[in-house]
Symmetry: C2
Subunit: 299 residues, 2 copies
């Protein structure tokens, strides 16, 4: 079944998801972005309309995929007053893909229900290449009926689709995935930095890591990049800071002390503060390797 799909937020993830859906036979009818140029480019490429209001996106589409930046952006596009995706949303389905807090997903689910629409969180644990190829790891939260309704769309995007549970739960799991991933990344950067300082052959060290208890997914994805200072962005240090922040806010609400995750979060916060938050998360190695990043003067 093909759907008329609208997109809100067509950065690198959103635009590649749109391309993939179009390729799979879905119609991309409407595109909206806070950066008009981004919307215009992808709209032209895919034959969609550029919308200047959110309500217009909802009006043109059956299914609206949102890939926005953060909680604040989510509150803005699902604003119950003023221009909003919720206007005329009866019968429409929202698929919300941004990594935002579980609380926002729960709030949006309620607002959508009040507007007689449905919403699903579809949290992605993969990156741009997977978006383009339709091989995202997708964790979904919301009503199961909603999940089943848009399953063909989700399956076009994902080679690994998982229904996690009710609203907020997928976002929680996603935040935990990224919390652990980010900490493993910072830990790896420290291990390699120490090996580098001790003049070990880092290719040999990474090989030993890969065969022992030090092995991890981030060793495979980021280890060589850390060594070679190749930090083209797939998942930025700034995103890592944000996502660890979401998880650690949940921990704080639970009065749970997570000192190691906190230390890692401070490293990603430091990337942002030091002006290198736009680098891939592997760029955390710039902070740990001797003689790489010159720290800004403390303020």
């Amino acid at each position: 079944m093909s759907e008329k799909i609208g997109f809100v937020g067509v950065g690198r993830m959103g635009s590649n998801m749109a391309r993939r859906l179009k390729e799979c036979g879905h119609e991309i009818v409407a595109v909206y972005d806070v950066v008009p140029k981004s919307a215009e480019e992808i709209a032209r490429e895919l034959g969609a309309s550029v919308c200047t209001t959110l309500a217009e996106v909802t009006a043109k589409s059956n299914v609206i995929v949102t890939v926005v930046t953060d909680d604040k952006s989510m509150e803005k596009i699902f604003n119950p007053k003023g221009d909003s995706l919720l206007k005329g949303a009866k019968g429409k389905v929202f698929i919300n893909c941004a990594t935002v807090s579980p609380a926002i997903h729960i709030k949006v689910a309620k607002l959508a229900r009040a507007a007689k629409a449905a919403s699903l969180e579809a949290c992605m644990a993969s990156s741009i290449t997977q978006a383009r190829e339709g091989t995202l790891y997708l964790m979904c939260g919301g009503e199961r009926a909603t999940f089943e309704k848009v399953q063909p769309v989700l399956e076009s995007l994902s080679s690994s689709l998982k229904y996690i549970g009710k609203a907020g739960h997928a976002a929680t799991v996603k935040a935990l995935v990224n919390l652990v991933m980010n900490t493993n990344t910072a830990a790896l950067a420290e291990g390699l930095a120490l090996g580098h300082a001790l003049k070990l052959d880092l290719a040999m060290l990474r090989e030993v890591f890969s065969q022992t208890g030090a092995n991890s997914r981030v060793l495979q994805t980021d280890g060589e990049d850390m060594q070679n200072r190749e930090h083209s962005c797939y998942f930025s240090g700034a995103h890592a800071a944000k996502d660890s922040g979401i998880a650690l806010d949940l921990a704080r609400q639970q009065k749970l002390d997570l000192p190691v995750s906190n230390a890692a979060r401070r490293q990603f916060d430091k990337m942002v503060r030091e002006g290198i938050g736009h680098l891939d998360k592997s760029g955390v190695a710039e902070l740990t390797f001797k003689g790489r990043h010159k720290a800004k003067k403390s303020r």
Copy 2:
């Protein structure tokens, strides 16, 4: 070629290595342990002599395998004065398997050379089961000629034998492996503890971790144990504290700041301080999961 092998330190690792070597056709001729009962038991089982002095072990053996606790124990058994493995050591080969500091391995290598003996560090990145089965991951440091001389013994112990480089280098790599492994372990404990506090299904959460950027070797080895509070000791929290300490001492000497590894080390130090350092390293989850470990009053 079978060797006459002596063992110094026959705890769980040492005794299982001795069993394995015997099985492979080597002769276990001499056993020494600071706990006489341990020495007696394994000596009886394997038909070896119990030695009451270190010099006696050297006298009886061609190859002496040492598996002691820490730097201090290494200094004691290779004491240039008094009873020592170095006495009459001409032509003998020491294989030193304990995880101790690279500096001690370098020192012992020099002392052995002065005694016209040879020494090799053989650092194990595996545990008791692998010791018994001869499938240790073994990283060796020292003269290559020494490595080659005892290669048949090493191959009886290891399914994955690696010559890393000169004295001290294998111990350094081993310390880095354990540093990263320990930090990943503490990070995993925090992620699962938060999932537990948020009432997520931890089996589902572990499955998602395993399929995403949160995956790691320690997730496979320790994840379920953390969930089920199954902390039978393979590699204790106390050992984790010691090994991270060795690596972080090296970092300090290099004036390298490794905040995430330090935070993890403090967790393993805390296990020791709180009287649960004898648990497996997975026991770090006892500190992070809500309502598990009651902290001692601060002193």
